[in-house]
């Protein structure tokens, strides 16, 4: 048997594009599951079972990555030499500086028990959700630009730089939303540790 492709795009047999049709992806996932799932190898040799386990873990990890546009982009960028993790700075994007400053003050107020800041906080949650949507729209545009340039020249890394910038901005906004939501609904450990 040929060695298993470890690259998610290769495993799914998809072109290295950033826009992926989710219905086609799901269909391919089901097909490959039927081919590789360990349940299909119940009567096979230990080696084949081992191979099935390996293949299915790549398949499942790949499906999880490819079906989420952000994870998919991060994956492709990292593979193409634009790793995200190292860019994950705490630096505030300059255009958000003022808003973040205000937000931190509000968070402090709510934390110290001042409930009057709540409605404002809810407003900024909506604001940041809107910002995130904007980034997502821009991302999709850039995905398309990237895919077109790859079609023209497969080694083209055009647009990747922009996409990385957008992903970092998105991640930053995501963290802000998380902080706001935590302040709005303080985490009550509703359930004990499992087990």
């Amino acid at each position: 048997m040929p060695p298993l492709p470890r690259d998610y795009y290769g495993f799914f047999g998809f072109d290295r594009k950033l826009a992926i049709d989710s219905a086609a992806l799901q269909k391919r996932f089901y097909e490959l599951s039927r081919q590789w799932h360990p349940d299909r190898f119940g009567r096979k040799s230990a080696e084949e079972q081992e191979m099935a386990l390996e293949a299915t873990s790549i398949l499942n990890d790949g499906y999880r990555t490819l079906k989420d546009p952000v994870k998919r982009a991060e994956y492709l960028l990292t593979q193409d030499g634009f790793p995200i993790a190292e860019q994950r700075g705490k630096d505030v994007p300059p255009e958000l500086l003022e808003e973040v400053f205000e937000l931190n003050m509000m968070l402090e107020e709510v934390k110290s028990g001042d409930e009057s800041a709540r409605p404002q906080l809810e407003q900024s949650r909506q604001h940041f959700l809107g910002l995130r949507e904007g980034v997502d729209r821009e991302l999709l545009r850039e995905f398309q630009r990237h895919d077109e340039s790859v079609e023209a020249s497969p080694t083209s890394k055009q647009a990747l730089q922009e996409i990385r910038g957008l992903l970092n901005r998105r991640r930053y906004i995501e963290n802000l939303i998380r902080d706001v939501e935590r302040a709005l609904n303080p985490v009550t450990p509703s359930r004990p540790a499992p087990g």
Partner: protein
Amino acid sequence: MSTFQIDFGEARRSKVVGIDLGTTNSLVAYMDLTGPEIIADSEGRRIVPSVVSLTTDGNLVAGEPARELLLTSPERTVYSVKRLMGKGADDVKDEVKLFPFRIDPESTGVIKLKLGDRTLTPPEISAAVLKQLKENAETALDAVVEQAVITVPAYFNDAQRQATKDAGRLAGLEVLRLVNEPTAASLAYGLDKRQDGVIAVYDFGGGTFDISILRLHDGIFEVLATNGDTHLGGDDIDNLLLRIALEDLASEWKTDLSTDAEGVQRLRRAVIRAKEELSFVPETKLAFDYKGQHYQRALDRAIFERLIAPIVERTLEPCRACLKDAAHTPEQIDEVVMVGGSTRIPLVRAAVERLFKSKPHTELNPDEVVALGAAVQAGILSGDVEDKLLLDVTPLSLGIETMGGVVSKLIHRNSTIPASATEQFTTAVDGQRNVLIHVLQGERELVKDCRSLARFDLKEIAPMPAGFARIDVRLLIDANGILNVTARDARTGKEQSVEVKPSYGLTEDQVEAMIRESIEKGEEDLRERQVREARVEADNILAATEKAQRSDAWNDLSEPERQDVESAKRGLIAAYHGSDHRVINEKLEALNQATHTLAENMMNTAVRGALRGTKID
């Protein structure tokens, strides 16, 4: 039929059964040509109570006989042991108050339970139930059964799954797959008849609660999300009613029955009977006679429902969380399937109907549907069922301990399994040879709030300056939901040795030792049986010899011949009470030889007598 003609193709195709190893009851099922069937025992009982008892002659019995012994020798009998699987003694302090578990105070790591004079771990006790099911299946199918699919609650963690797998091995079963109970149930329901759809499986059993949401597509059962509570079930309702009845009884009888193990068990039965009746009739009587005293209370459904409402409510929170994780609204759920005995309770059905806004399926027997599904999965694994495939998820996030007691999540809950994650580790000190990795399961941020699974010791790292080693550690959750860890040196690609130290499970060595012990026990049993058989034979030949000595044939022997017989007889009698069947058999053979002429004489006498027409005897 010769035992030695083994066709290996056939041997591999020995029967694979599906087992529902439940908190209260267990069942075994098999996939035949017409579909999955529950296997009954020789007396036609389809359910094996998950009760195990140590008899006074030192044997473990399981099922109905053990359930009877629960009344007469409660201190040697245990039930609901599933609640203790994969647990440490500290975890179950609350359980111990409600269940008559006698935990060995010296339990470290794995819990040890006292049954009479023996201490046993939960997997050993569960193995007794599995052995009973295996035996029932072997008798009914007239075949060797060495492979099984066993179901577990979807929300079981790694340690609980591993403990279940260990129980299978201890019972002499190769566990081909652990399958989640709600997913198994969905297989049995035949809902794949519909081409596409999203279903919810609400599984409220004796001791555990699970909710799973699945997408069905052309024979593929894809679990989108699962949630649950491994400490919530019909047991909790029983305990609640029992506690109330005990208090009420104490004020009426002026005695505290709660310290009387037999009394508590009998009252528990009465309470369960009343609970079950209230699912079918609007009111019933809780009646209890014990040691000449009589207690009776009327109980109607309205009161019952008021009492149990908080317990039923506790199942709804996991349902909402599961919907959220599956990114579905209740309206988007096409069908809801009910599983587990507790879903017979009308209040439970009403609550589910209200939450999902549709009438749940209750067509299949909620006690049997999980075992039937396990049999379908057994069919899938043996290649007999080709049109169905189950894609399940891990119920809990998996992570490793990082600086400051924080858990870094590597595999998130509801990831389709098999799933993996790789993380690189290095050393902190020059020449460091070991790296210890602490793996945890759970959704919380801090180590203290998650469930410790195991510590993995990466050993024999080549000595290097601090921070130079690069070790890729791969965590892989397999199709059983069980964690496997491998490590390799990222520079050389060389496999790195990993020693597993489970936090609450048996180590591989311990399981091996238990299997060895059970084989030794088996050998002991075999030896005993051989001795018993030899003695039976000795009885026969001694009786025959004595009879011959009273006949004329005896007088026809020479004096030395008679002395030979007498001495061989004495030899056998002396060996008779020994414990070595080989010695008994040897003396048997000697007596056989010595009585050879005597037997011939007897024959001749018989022939002569027959010729003379007189009856010899």
